[in-house]
């Protein structure tokens, strides 16, 4: 399909020319029927996965994790423990893969760099732009980004200005994403929509397109500080936006659900949503990440169970 939703590739540039054009574009996107979207997400949650596939998917899910600590109480010691866990999640089994990244506050980036060492396959993602609220001037946000990048962050997780979005200042949101993208340089940009504050699926779809128009490499559901976060229907709607963007532009945008995913079953359901919505091409850490902390231990417990044939228990995974 070259024309999707009545949009061709050349329309995208025109859409971002003015506030009015952008509004027209976003409101021209098809709506999302809440009942229908929730029903579809619920139906996909009932898929049953083959045991051999499940084993592979558990490892894949571990490789997709952005292992996260975002607390006011974070310290260098906490961050190095997190990094150690990311490198060797299961001390009893070195065949357990490492996670995709660690995700920390900007000032913790140097500690993560030190803990992971040079040439680590694990990326460092830093939240920035006055995370989680995004309530600061653009200059402060950009400085936040700059700081993290200079200190060695490979990925920046920014938040959109939900206040601007909800009051209809879409161009402002877009230009902020663009400015952050520029400040990222070679770092990958994940744009957090904070869907729990956007509330409607129509808003989620519009914000997804806005982020992609602004140059997002990934779109991400939530900060983890607001509930609800990565619900299945929200992820479904965002994956549909990623799929449609690919149909229009030919570009792969990544997707990152974050917040509220705690069990291996949650992770499996996410991967099923990906495969059935946007396709199996997205089943790679380059295009799908899961922002989580406690999820990793449940994946490890399931992994141990499939290896040993019995549940071990919470004392057989590390609490960091």
């Amino acid at each position: 399909m070259t024309v999707v939703l009545g949009i061709s590739n050349s329309d995208l540039a025109a859409a971002t020319g003015s506030d009015a054009a952008l509004r027209r574009f976003l409101f021209g996107l098809p709506g999302v029927d809440q009942v229908g979207a929730e029903a579809r997400a619920a139906a996909l949650a009932t898929r049953s996965i083959k045991a051999a596939t499940k084993r592979d998917l558990i490892d894949l899910a571990i490789r997709m994790i952005d292992l996260t600590t975002l607390e006011g109480a974070d310290t260098p010691g906490k961050v190095s423990a997190l990094c150690a866990k990311a490198q060797h999640p299961d001390p009893t089994d070195h065949t357990a893969p490492h996670t995709a990244a660690v995700c920390v506050y900007g000032d913790m980036v140097p500690h993560a760099v030190r803990a992971l060492g040079p040439d680590s396959p694990i990326s460092i993602a830093a939240v920035a732009t006055a995370f989680p609220s995004g309530r600061a001037s653009l200059d402060v946000k950009l400085l936040d980004v700059h700081d993290a990048v200079v200190n060695g962050a490979h990925e920046i997780d920014m938040v959109i200005d939900r206040g601007a979005f909800l009051s209809g200042r879409y161009l402002q949101v877009l230009e902020e994403v663009r400015a952050v993208k520029e400040a990222c340089g070679t770092a990958h940009l994940k744009v957090i929509l904070e869907t729990g504050e956007l509330q409607t699926y129509d808003n989620v779809r519009r914000a997804s397109w806005l982020a992609m128009l602004g140059g997002a490499d990934f779109i991400k559901t939530s900060t983890g500080k607001v509930q609800p976060a990565a619900t299945a229907p929200v992820v479904l709607v965002m994956l549909e936006a990623v799929r449609d963007w690919f149909d229009v532009t030919g570009h792969h945008i990544g997707m990152k659900p974050a917040g509220g995913l705690r069990t291996a079953k949650d992770a499996m359901r996410m991967l099923v949503l990906v495969a059935e919505t946007v396709g199996e091409d997205w089943l790679t850490p380059d295009l799908f990440r899961i922002g989580a902390s406690s999820l990793l231990n449940d994946l490890l417990l399931q992994r141990q169970r499939m290896r040993d044939g019995a549940y071990s228990g919470p004392n057989y995974v590390t609490l960091d």
């Binding site: 939703l5 009545g6 709506g31 979207a37």
Partner: protein
């Protein structure tokens, strides 16, 4: 890179304990048919035999009607609250034995276990719960202070939702104080026979429910019997017409719920992803063996090309196969006879110039199967746009304006159901007012609720089932 493979996740058959052979359920007992004839009910997914079932003759129907007549005296005079107790008990037993019923329904019918488990059986129980609540409130049904039951109801039901159609028929009849003689479809008698066991388990007085299995002649005998006061039929328009002729000039009341050629109308401003889902659900649910199926897609011309492309992409992810597998979306066609009819109509579509597209899916080698099929370039004059296919075949037509959509949607001999997909509320109301269809769904499809009446216009039949209206079909109002 990992690829997701869904496990064959078969629901266990072990919950179902089939007897090798079933008698007829008359006067609270299973009895052998007077002529001693049996036939085999097969699993349409692999053509294996499931059980021997009795062929009921006119003599057997006579015994059943007499038993129902005898039971009527006591049942109709029983206080409503007492009848309600039996109906609640039946509803609870259906819930308790839901897995058993779901597996058996899937075995006998070929429908995916996720549908029998999540739709058919829960709804059947819901129907009994709903009408149990009515049994002691008949004077509030709007039929006067003392509505009375009609007597013995002869009920002939189809094979597409065997247990659910049984519930639609039996629950309101019993709530109103009627007794019934039920003739299940010849290819799907087994859940009805299991229901007979439930009646015994619930201590339902003998003769209140009688179940006579068999072929067309058995159904005709039920319709023709002079002791039957009310005929309720769900099935094809052709048979419905014969029934209407058979009862013309008699005292019998009739409700007929017949065929359909539902239009699913998608406007350009629809929530497109959910509309695609809804259209898929509207026609491929239960292999399209649904009288109210959205078998005609009417899509606004400005989005037709893209909508069809999205529909095909979605159809490519439908999982067709073993009905007992919990991952299966589309199951088996119910019989070789039905498969032949679907194939014949699909061939006519190609011959008449429409373009056929089928999802790329491997079909099992045994059993009766038909891949999900989409026709484009369909004209109103084509048979596939006019005749009920009753299979997983969708005919796509386009329209330019709302009035053209209404004209095309209404241009059919049927009038059972329609769907509207738009984000504009006022357009939904306008369309719903002008569509000549008994059920109009907005931004959804194939949703059923016991409180909501269901029935058709035109050749889709007359009378309503469900809700207060469905109850009224089994009661006589106060003429005084």
């Amino acid at each position: 890179m990992a690829r997701i493979e869904y496990a064959p996740a078969p629901e266990s058959r072990s919950v179902v304990h089939l007897r090798p052979s079933y008698g007829l359920f008359i006067d609270g007992e299973f009895v052998e048919p007077t002529l001693g004839e049996h036939y085999t009910s097969v699993n349409p997914a692999d053509e294996t035999a499931l059980a021997e079932v009795s062929e009921g003759s006119a003599a057997d129907v006579d015994l059943a009607v007499r038993a129902a007549r005898r039971a009527f005296t006591r049942w109709s005079r029983m206080p409503g609250a007492e009848r309600a107790k039996y109906l609640y008990r039946i509803a609870r037993i259906l819930q308790e034995r839901a897995r058993e019923f779901a597996v058996l329904e899937t075995l006998d019918n070929g429908k995916p276990i996720k549908e029998s488990r999540d739709t058919d059986i829960p709804l059947a129980a819901a129907w009994f719960f709903h009408y149990a609540g009515w049994a002691d409130k008949l004077e509030y049904a709007g039929l006067g202070p003392d509505p009375r039951p009609l007597g013995v109801a002869g009920q002939v039901i189809p094979w597409n939702f065997p247990m659910l159609m049984l519930a639609w028929k039996v629950a309101p009849a019993l709530a109103g104080g009627n007794t019934v003689v039920l003739k299940p479809a010849q290819t799907t008698p087994l859940t009805a026979l299991l229901f007979a066991e439930v009646c015994q388990q619930a201590d339902l007085p003998a003769g209140v429910v009688n179940i006579v299995t068999g072929h067309n002649d058995t159904g005709a005998a039920v319709v023709a019997h002079k002791g039957v006061d009310k005929i309720a039929f769900t099935g094809s328009t052709a048979v419905g017409r014969r029934i209407a002729e058979a009862v013309a000039g008699t005292h019998k009341r009739v409700t007929l719920e017949l065929g359909g050629k539902g239009a699913n109308i998608v406007f350009a401003d629809a929530a497109i992803d959910q509309a695609v889902e809804g259209v898929v659900h509207g026609i491929y649910f239960n292999q399209g063996h649904v009288c109210c199926a959205g078998s005609r897609l009417l899509v606004q011309e400005s989005i037709a090309e893209e909508f069809v492309a999205r529909l095909k992409r979605r159809m490519g992810t439908l999982r067709v196969g073993d009905p007992l597998d919990k991952n299966t979306d589309v199951g088996a066609i119910n019989s070789s006879m039905q498969l032949a009819r679907i194939s014949e109509l699909a061939d006519s579509g190609v011959a008449e110039g429409a373009t056929m597209w089928q999802a790329d899916c491997a079909l099992p080698s045994r059993g009766f199967w038909f891949a999900p099929t989409l026709f484009t370039d369909v004209a109103q004059s084509h048979r596939i746009a006019r005749e009920e296919i009753f299979g997983p075949v969708l005919s796509t037509l386009t329209f330019r304006t709302p009035s053209e959509a209404i004209e095309k949607a209404n241009n059919t001999q049927y009038g059972l159901a329609a769907g509207i997909w738009t984000e504009k509320g006022s357009l939904i109301l306008k369309m719903a007012n002008e569509l000549r269809a008994g059920v109009v769904w907005a931004n959804t499809y194939n949703k059923f609720d016991p409180a909501s009446p269901f029935g058709g216009y035109k050749e889709s039949g007359y009378g309503r089932e469900g809700g207060r209206q469905g109850l009224a079909a089994y009661l006589e109002g106060d003429r005084a």
